[in-house]
């Protein structure tokens, strides 16, 4: 099945076209964004996020955004840098290119693009918390702090800026200040699992183990597939002498951590082969293994965006979701399969089996459709 899907994924482009596309992406990835041309000072002074995108940039920008949302960061960058070459410092392209570099963990380049964005559109500081994240990731904590303060001055309730600001204060050895800021994050969004996890870690570091445990457990409730909260829960339980519970949390941590590590390694492969369905299918299996149904659905959606008309892929999605016990997801996958594989006999045979025991009418209809398309029973 995977080999079939991989084959299908490569259909439609010649090796030469593929090579040329790959070279263009490689050139974009190897480009230093400092070499991009600059607009004259004040050129974008009147720009606002509501401003219409110039006609000639609409399609390239949309294409780059599509590539970005499908996880093809190299292609997204190629498109965005081409826009910035044609229209220097065009703010939406600067912003999106900065975000794309962030996804590639190229934090210096992220900072370069966001700083240019702020020069072009200084009124939009409230949207640039990612610049603080980039400084933070570069270990430039005083700069991160200064930038988060600017973002928060413009937008005091920015949850992500508050979170980043809290972590920066923690890195500056200001644990109590960090806790206070995380408290503010949780006032604004109590369901912020990551904020609970960081709170747990800081409390643990400060020796407030009972409180750390409560925060770690809340983080786990909110995001049961994140290894960090299981780790912190286990460490806090062990510190409190609750060894049996600690061992249970540790076992879950080890399972999640192994899965997380493998997924990170597969994601690295996807940077250069974002349409590799075999890699995505392996990630589906991992998410299924740890019971992360939302993760499974997200990956299947990503796969079907790559090959939207691929009937075999739709059958695969239904198989996976049904086996994972995701009734809602399987129902949606069955409907999609009906639509995509309407003229394929095997589709209806599979649907007949799917509807058996669930919907007698649709089961019969699927069987009739199968036979009408030439399928044979037995």
């Amino acid at each position: 099945m995977i080999a079939l899907m991989l084959g299908l994924a490569l259909l439609g482009t010649s090796p030469q076209e593929e090579r040329a596309a790959r070279d263009a992406v490689d050139a974009a990835l190897a480009r230093d964004p400092k070499s991009l041309p600059s607009a004259p000072p004040g050129h974008w002074g009147e720009w606002t996020p509501q401003a219409a995108v110039p006609d000639d940039l609409t399609a390239p920008l949309a294409s780059a955004m599509r590539a970005y949302f499908s996880g093809d960061y190299g292609e997204a960058l190629r498109g965005l840098l081409a826009i910035l070459e044609a229209e220097p410092d065009f703010p939406p392209a600067l912003y999106q290119a900065g975000t794309t570099y962030f996804r590639l963990r190229r934090y210096g380049d992220t900072a370069e693009l966001y700083e240019r964005f702020l020069r072009a559109a200084p009124r939009e500081v409230s949207a640039t918390q990612a610049l603080g994240h980039a400084y933070y990731s570069l270990g430039e904590y005083p700069r991160a702090r200064e930038h988060y303060e600017k973002v928060l001055a413009a937008s005091p309730d920015s949850v992500e800026a508050l979170r980043g600001y809290a972590l920066t204060r923690m890195r500056l050895s200001e644990g109590e200040a960090a806790l206070e800021l995380l408290g503010r994050v949780l006032e604004l969004r109590e369901t912020h699992a990551d904020a609970h996890a960081w709170k747990a870690q800081i409390l643990f570091d400060l020796g407030r183990t009972e409180e750390a445990l409560a925060s770690a457990q809340r983080a786990r409730e909110l995001d049961p597939f994140e290894p960090r909260s299981a780790y912190l829960e286990s460490q806090a339980l062990a510190e409190l002498g609750r060894d049996a519970e600690a061992a249970k949390a540790a076992a879950r941590f080890e399972e999640l951590s192994r899965a997380d590590q493998e997924i990170r390694s597969l994601e690295a492969l996807l940077v250069r082969a974002p349409r590799d369905l075999a890699v995505l299918a392996r990630m589906v299996e991992i998410q299924r293994g740890i019971g992360n149904l939302a993760g499974v659905r997200g990956l299947l959606e990503r796969m079907t965006r790559i090959q939207p008309q691929d009937v075999a892929l739709r059958v695969y999605a239904l198989d996976v979701l049904e086996a994972a016990g995701d009734a809602e997801g399987a129902a949606a996958a069955a409907l999609a399969l009906e639509r995509i594989g309407a003229e394929d006999a095997a589709t209806w045979k599979r649907l007949e089996r799917y509807y058996a025991g669930k919907d007698r009418v649709r089961q019969v209809q699927a069987g009739e459709r199968y036979r009408r398309l030439g399928g044979r029973d037995g």
Binding site: D32, D205, R228, F253, S257, Q261, S265, L269
Partner: protein
């Protein structure tokens, strides 16, 4: 008049004032110390992970003349492997006593193996002379010291098992039988025919790079019980030195983390959880890295785990651990709480942020400025030549780092020396010129072996040093086969400070150091109390020990 005065004042203000003198880095590279000594590690392009880790360094007094000699463990190339040719041989460089080294004569020559990695020195046959183990991508090897006159290869009878990719090795006496045992740390199952070269899908920051270690198969480490006659028996399974999951092992240190009198083992694993092996005192081990919070960073993330520094940072008598990591991760400092385990305190001690851009390898916790507390050095260098491409936030060659201990539990980053950035790998630390401060020898990948001379004390010895800083080197001579007293603990107390040190030779990453302990004493001219706990369990106390010397102590008879 007022205008005139103001103008004069302004002109004075505008005069350039002399810049304050830039503090001199603590170390200076000495190109005359190891002239022309280079190592080989595959292609410069680093198409495969086997080419990225570099060779090893073993420091010990092999010829018994009282100074520290150096074995350089050298590598090979995949082309040589394909042709069935041997790798570059390990080589002994003898010290003239001033930290200048020359290649030893024919009697010390060793044949090339498959692809040398690291090694360790220890007296495996009880004749009083340090022997040499070399780890390889291939069978590990043993060279017996012939009374300080040369080496004789004794691999065939040594009892080493298998043909793996060994990295670091450490001698210890885990079963307290008086004979040296051996831990060999292994990395991964490497077959160039089964691993994609660059362009085969592996990427980093958008660039195609060599593959691994993630996605490859880690290999179990090995524990050998020494018989005291230069032969070993692999006991990994019966001694339960076998974790549920193997790691990509790179670094090793021996330590008595729980101060119960037997030797435990800590292994740093690349991208997989580190292992802390607690010696149960009955000939078996238990892996407790997770339980003691030294398997991951403080938030439960596996790190790249390269080298290990080990020492009593805060003077509480317990060994703390520093693990060097990949770029984008910070080096991890684990402070010991004894039997309770460790706490990762990299952020709060100033280690984390400054190490974020570097990829660290060789390291040690040692009193580099002789002020009485332990500092850390880390030599750095990326694994990917592509690190010099745009947007990586790092570089292939990187500066060496000195983390100077401020004395209050926090460190400040300083350049280790005024040398340019290098692609460094293994490094080891010892008093190489006999002046009392600790020098460093480091391997530059595809480059030279460098000596970094410590400038804290002026060589030569004999200069007026009344004002200090002072120091003491202690060499123990135990009774029985473990003559160099591996595992012994020495506690020194002096005016203004106290610290405990353990005798070990494991040197962090593919390196081994002399079997002795070193104390910086600041301005204290003597150690008020020096307490030794011998591997036999015997306790011995010396009082009012004069500083600035190498003190040899024989274990007393019953």
């Amino acid at each position: 008049m007022i205008a005139h005065v103001l103008a004069a004042a302004l002109s004075i203000a505008q005069e350039p004032t002399p810049a304050p003198a830039k503090p001199q880095p603590l170390f200076a590279e000495d190109p005359s110390a190891l002239p022309g000594v280079r190592t080989l590690s595959g292609s410069r392009e680093k198409r495969y992970i086997i080419e990225a880790n570099g060779g090893g360094l073993v420091l010990a007094d092999f010829d018994g003349d009282g100074d520290v000699d150096l074995v350089v463990i050298d590598g090979s190339t995949l082309e040589r492997i394909e042709k069935g040719e041997k790798g570059e041989p390990p080589r002994l460089y003898l010290n003239d006593g001033t930290g200048h080294f020359s290649l030893s004569g024919e009697t010390w020559s060793m044949p090339g193996g498959r692809w040398g990695m690291g090694g360790a020195a220890g007296d495996v046959n009880g004749d009083g002379w340090p022997d040499l183990v070399v780890t390889e991508w291939g069978p590990d090897r043993l060279f017996l010291n012939q009374g300080g006159k040369g080496f004789r290869e004794a691999t065939e009878k040594a009892g080493f098992q298998g043909s793996r990719w060994g990295t670091s090795a450490a001698f210890l006496d885990y079963d307290a039988d008086g004979f040296l045992d051996l831990v060999v740390v292994n990395y991964l199952a490497f077959d160039p025919n089964e691993i994609s070269p660059p362009g085969g899908g592996c990427s980093w920051k958008g660039y195609p790079v060599m593959c691994g270690p993630e996605g490859l198969t880690p290999v179990h480490d090995q524990l050998y019980r020494g018989r005291g006659d230069g032969t070993f028996e692999e006991v990994s399974v019966p001694a339960r030195f076998r974790p549920a999951q193997a790691g990509f092992g790179l670094g090793v240190t021996t330590l008595d983390y729980d101060n119960d009198g037997d030797t435990d083992v800590y292994v740093s694993n690349d991208s997989t959880p580190h292992h802390l092996w607690e010696n149960r005192g009955d000939g078996t081990f238990e892996e407790i890295g997770f339980r003691r919070a030294v398997s991951h960073d403080g938030s439960g993330k596996e790190q790249a785990g390269m080298g290990i520094g080990c020492g009593d940072l805060d003077g509480d008598g317990r060994d703390d651990l520093l693990v060097t990591n990949f770029s984008g991760e910070s080096n991890a400092l684990y402070l010991s709480r004894g039997k309770l385990g460790f706490r990762e305190r990299s952020t709060y001690t100033g280690i984390a942020g400054p190490s974020l851009h570097s990829l660290g390898w060789g390291t040690a916790l040692a009193d580099l400025d002789l002020d009485g507390d332990l500092d850390a050095f880390v030599v750095n260098g990326h694994v990917y030549p592509q690190a010099d491409n745009p947007g990586t936030d790092t570089s292939y060659a990187q500066a060496d780092h000195l983390y100077r201990n401020g004395g209050s539990g926090s460190f400040s980053l300083e350049p280790l020396s005024d040398a340019p950035p290098r692609v460094s790998r293994a490094a080891a630390c010892a008093d190489l010129d006999g002046d009392g401060d600790l020098d460093i020898v480091a391997i530059e990948l595809d480059g030279g072996v460098r000596l970094l001379r410590n400038r804290t004390l002026p060589a030569p010895s004999g200069a007026d040093r009344a004002a200090g800083p002072h120091w003491l080197r202690v060499q123990l001579r135990a009774r029985g086969g473990n003559r160099s007293a591996l595992g012994a603990r020495v506690r020194a107390e002096w005016e203004g400070g106290a610290r405990t040190a353990e005798v070990r030779t494991s040197g962090g990453y593919q390196a081994s150091v002399p079997a002795e302990v070193h104390f910086g004493l600041g301005h204290a001219p003597k150690v008020r109390r020096l307490a030794v706990r011998w591997p036999s369990g015997r306790e011995q106390v010396l009082e009012d020990v004069a500083a600035d010397r190498v003190l040899a102590i024989e274990e007393p008879a019953d």
